[in-house]
């Protein structure tokens, strides 16, 4: 039930993510980057979006070396669920917990807009409830959202539908690790958990985290 939400200097979406977790029926615990351990009882970890360390050097690079990441790695190795959103996805790739890297968008600019995603790998705890082919309306907002990796070996969990994927290989919007328990997602489900804001399609991902 308890989901850890990491916080680095420059994290921006930790509160929105915590709110989404609560909406999904869970409890959220904010964890400072300099902690050596995740709180006891942590069932899933969310690395929220933002500009950790100002995106300096490479997005996610500096945060991926934070102390708490050692315990996130142990948690993942035990098969614990981890969701990295946007900057969190970048952190997970930089930490080697997900394959590939995220490069600047083909537009070389920040892009904020609503996108449609399709579930392309339903065999993971993150996507199982959604099912293959499910469509989600979720916004993207990033500078470096183009995934670069080998789609023949990586598990692409979600793809952009019918629009320019900003240079992402295989139109990948979300990538899983081999086991399917670590998910990196460029779009922001925490911005899509309330019909008042235009969509509640993102809630399913937080429900998956809470069910862990």
């Amino acid at each position: 039930m308890s989901v850890a939400v990491l916080r680095f200097p420059g994290s921006l979406d930790h509160e929105s993510a915590a709110r989404a977790i609560r909406t999904a029926g869970g409890t959220a615990a904010e964890v400072w980057h300099d902690e050596s351990d995740l709180p006891g009882g942590t069932r899933a970890v969310v690395i929220p979006g933002g500009f950790s360390y100002g995106d300096h050097l490479r997005p996610g690079a500096i945060a991926s070396r934070a102390r708490v990441m050692d315990d996130v790695r142990r948690h993942a190795e035990r098969g614990g669920m981890v969701l990295g959103i946007c900057n969190g996805f970048q952190v997970l790739c930089e930490a080697g917990l997900l394959p590939g890297a995220l490069r600047p968008n083909a537009t070389l600019s920040f892009v904020c807009r609503q996108t449609t995603l399709e579930v392309t790998d339903p065999d993971a705890p993150w996507t199982r409830a959604l099912g293959a082919g499910a469509h989600l309306s979720i916004p993207i907002k990033n500078n470096s959202g183009a995934w670069f990796g080998d789609p023949t070996t990586a598990r692409v969990a979600l793809r952009y539908v019918g629009e320019d994927a900003l240079g992402s290989v295989d139109a990948a919007a979300g990538v899983l690790d081999d086991r399917g328990t670590v998910l990196g997602l460029m779009p922001h489900p925490e911005e899509a958990c309330d019909p008042l804001l235009g969509s509640a399609d993102g809630l399913a991902l937080f429900q998956a985290a809470v069910a862990a």
Binding site: P9, G10, L12, D13, E15, S16, R19, A20, D34, G50, F51, Y53, G54, D55, H56, S109, F110, V111, C112, R113, P139, K141, N143, H188, E190, E191, C193, D194, L196, L197, G198
Partner: protein, 726 residues
């Protein structure tokens, strides 16, 4: 100093009279650092010496005002124990020198003004004016300013939810970059900048001090930009990552009650921050310049006036200094005790053990001279003779071309580069009328807009000032909000020349009249004068930032047509005119003066209709007239419309004429009677003009059909701006 050089005070921008006045007030000659400090604090930028007297004409009071002008930001009650802080500020000249960093640091500065009130910044808006995009320089300034605004706002996690962009030759030499920020704070957590408690520590938080922008306030922001002379100060590089840490850390400390007072460091840096804090509190401040963390070796005067960004000054009880420094350490922010609050009222600074500055803080902060500007009316312009305006041969083609003009076309190219969602409270995104942002943890929301009416202000400044305010209010009313408070940025040319001083006064009076009619106080603002080069002066450009309230975020109304068969109506009675319109494309003619009470009534009717959930859409009729408003509502809803309009004097005037204050609204067919009754009870005209539906935007103009396919309209509207930038 060679004999050829003018005396130092003149190089610093002080007149001989002002230099004499400083001697007189001090009873001695100032030291070198003191003279530099006076030159900045008495500059136009810091002291408002040419506008201060006129600003008193604004209405600034109201039952919900918790803080009016005079603090870092104005603050109003928004219910449920929350207060909202708002302010707009210009960064015009720095953006003309280096658009990316200039615009970015402009955002940084306004955010720190909000933070200084103890408020959490929750929304940004940007109001921009550039030369026509046919000019390579204007394309560069525009594109880089947008990139800079996005860079900063995105990185600090404050959504940029709205703003405006307009292009006109008049801004070719002097572009305008105004940024507005809104923050929220619990009533009981509101901070102010008055220092108090002799013995308390003065703590500098944030970036090290470098040679950034030294001379900036006096030289850069108060003089006309002159290409011949290179008096560029060292450009400020934006550091939004540090700003975000400042926000997080200062709010954490403010939440624990660790600050006695808080103030950002803006123009004139440590000098203005410390002298204003001291003067407001009626106390003194002593600074130890040797303690200030530096990025490079600097003279005492330079340390005192450096405009290095991302710095805040806090007054802290001695017993809590350790706690403040520890919290900053955790955020990897520098925090250094650099002085203390004293009795008396002097600002005193020591360097290398010597006293280098010792002046009454009040002289710096409050006693700058105030000047009257010459009031010389401009000749009254003649209304346009319709015969002098060639009628478009093909009205549909004119409509399509208008939709593609950068001043009308979708600004998606701009706002797509801004994170307008972060925080997960953005109920209405950019692209419609006002933005709607839900208050944290509440079902209430605020609506936000910035608006100007510069061509109108050029032609008839009093009417134009009123028109700018009314347009802002109408924009809020269209989403269902009731206007609650305003902030304004008065961007003008040199007020000492020609009719500019008169226009400034007229604009302020016109704005004030409309604000009073709406019951909206001005709680903060900014003035940017001297926006002219040797050959070109900007239009008088008051930018009105307005905040409205919605009791139910869920009751907000969008501008897109909603359903096939909905009734489409025109609210407000006004005669459209081409004078100063976007179709005309220049400030020529004399737009009709707005009927202020009638427009205030329109706003009230729209808000009430939204609250009673009678509207399916509402959209302000602005640039491009009713034809553009209809097309925009159709495109936003993905649904065509068929209307009939009386032909009036001429078809192009009926379709594209502006002015007066109107809105295109739609409602369920069975809700039409109720809506009509509501508008009638407000004495506001409401006329059914047609029906939503189909794949065309079609107008029957007294029997003559004028229509655009939705695809065709979308193509023009969606690609117009990007095409112009190619």
């Amino acid at each position: 100093m060679t004999t050829l050089e003018p005396p130092l005070h003149r190089q610093l921008g002080l007149t001989d009279w002002e230099a004499g006045r400083i001697d007189e007030l001090l009873g001695r000659r100032p030291t070198h650092p003191e003279l530099v400090m006076f030159s900045l604090m008495w500059s136009e930028h810091c002291s408002y010496k040419h506008s201060r007297r006129l600003l008193r004409r604004f209405p600034t009071e109201g039952p919900s005002v918790l803080q009016g002008p005079g603090e870092n930001a104005g603050v109003v009650d928004v219910g449920d124990g929350w207060a909202a802080a708002l302010k707009i500020e210009s960064h015009n000249h720095p953006s003309a020198v280096e658009p990316f960093e200039g615009a970015a640091t402009g955002v940084g500065g306004i955010v720190r003004d909000i933070l200084a009130m103890g408020a959490r910044p929750i929304a940004l808006l940007d109001s921009l004016r550039f030369g026509e995009l046919a000019s390579a320089r204007s394309r560069h300034l525009f594109a880089r300013s947008v990139a800079g605004i996005g860079h900063y706002g995105n990185c600090i996690g404050v959504p940029t939810v709205g703003g405006e962009v307009a292009f006109d030759d008049r801004y070719e030499d002097s572009c305008l970059v105004n940024a507005m920020c809104v923050g929220v704070v619990r009533h009981d957590a509101l901070l102010r900048s008055a220092a108090s408690g002799p013995g308390n520590a003065v703590v500098l938080i944030g970036n090290r001090t470098g040679a950034d922008g030294i001379g900036g306030a006096s030289v850069l922001a108060s003089a006309e930009l002159d290409e011949e002379e290179d008096r560029r100060p060292s450009v400020q590089v934006s550091d939004p990552f540090t700003e975000r840490k400042l926000i997080d850390c200062c709010l954490e400390l403010a939440g624990r009650g660790a600050f006695v007072a808080l103030q950002d460091l803006g123009a004139a840096g440590l000098t203005s921050a410390s002298s204003e804090m001291a003067a407001k509190g009626g106390v003194g401040i002593e600074l130890d310049l040797d303690a200030v963390p530096l990025r490079q070796p600097l003279e005492p005067a330079e340390i005192l006036v450096s405009e290095s960004q991302e710095r805040m000054l806090a007054v802290v009880e001695p017993g809590r200094v350790g706690e403040v420094i520890a919290a900053c350490d955790r955020w990897e922010l520098l925090a250094t005790a650099v002085g203390r609050v004293t009795d008396g009222g002097n600002l005193l600074a020591r360097a290398a053990g010597r006293v280098v500055v010792d002046v009454p803080a009040r002289l710096l902060a409050d006693d700058a001279p105030a000047y009257d500007v010459p009031i010389e009316p401009a000749p009254e312009p003649e209304p346009l003779q319709l015969e002098d305006v060639p009628a478009p041969s093909d009205l549909a083609a004119a409509w399509r071309d208008l939709l593609a003009r950068p001043n009308v076309a979708s600004k998606r190219w701009v706002y797509q580069q801004y994170d307008h969602l972060v925080g997960a409270n953005t109920v209405q995104r950019p692209g419609g009328d006002a933005a709607v942002v839900r208050l944290p943890g509440s079902s209430r929301a605020i609506a936000l807009t910035t608006d100007g009416a510069e061509r109108h202000c050029q032609l008839d400044p009093r009417a134009g000032g009123a028109a700018a305010v009314l347009e802002a209010a109408r924009t809020l009313a269209c989403v269902g909000a009731r206007p609650a408070a305003a902030t304004d940025c008065l961007n003008f040319p040199n007020p000492e020349k020609g009719a500019t001083g008169w226009r400034l006064r007229e604009v302020i009076d016109g704005m004030s009249e409309a604000l009073r009619a709406l019951g909206v106080p001005v709680v903060s603002g900014n003035v940017s004068l001297y926006n002219e080069s040797g050959s070109r002066a900007i239009y008088p450009t008051p930018v009105v930032g307005m905040m409205g309230l919605l009791f139910e975020a869920a009751a907000s109304v969008t501008h897109g047509f909603d359903a096939d068969g909905d009734a489409v109506l025109l609210a407000g009675a006004a005669t459209p005119r081409l004078d100063g319109s976007e179709l005309l494309g220049e400030a020529r003619g004399r737009p009709p003066a707005p009927d202020v009470p009638a427009q205030a009534a329109l706003c009230a009717a729209l808000a009430e209709a939204a609250e009673r959930r009678l509207l399916r859409s509402a959209h302000d009729v602005a640039a491009g007239g009713v034809a553009v408003a209809l097309a925009e509502s159709a495109l936003a809803g993905g649904l065509g419309v068929e209307v009939t309009l009386p032909v009036g004097r001429r078809g192009d005037e009926t379709l594209f004429g502006e002015g007066g204050g109107r809105a295109v609204v739609s409602c369920r067919r069975d809700g039409e009677t109720q809506l009509a009754e509501l508008f009638a009870s407000h004495g506001v005209a409401l006329k059914r003009i047609g029906t939503a539906g189909g794949a065309h935007v079609a107008v029957d103009l007294g029997g003559q059909p004028v229509a655009l396919g939705l695809d065709e309209a979308a193509e023009a509207y969606e690609t117009g701006l990007a095409e112009a930038l190619r």
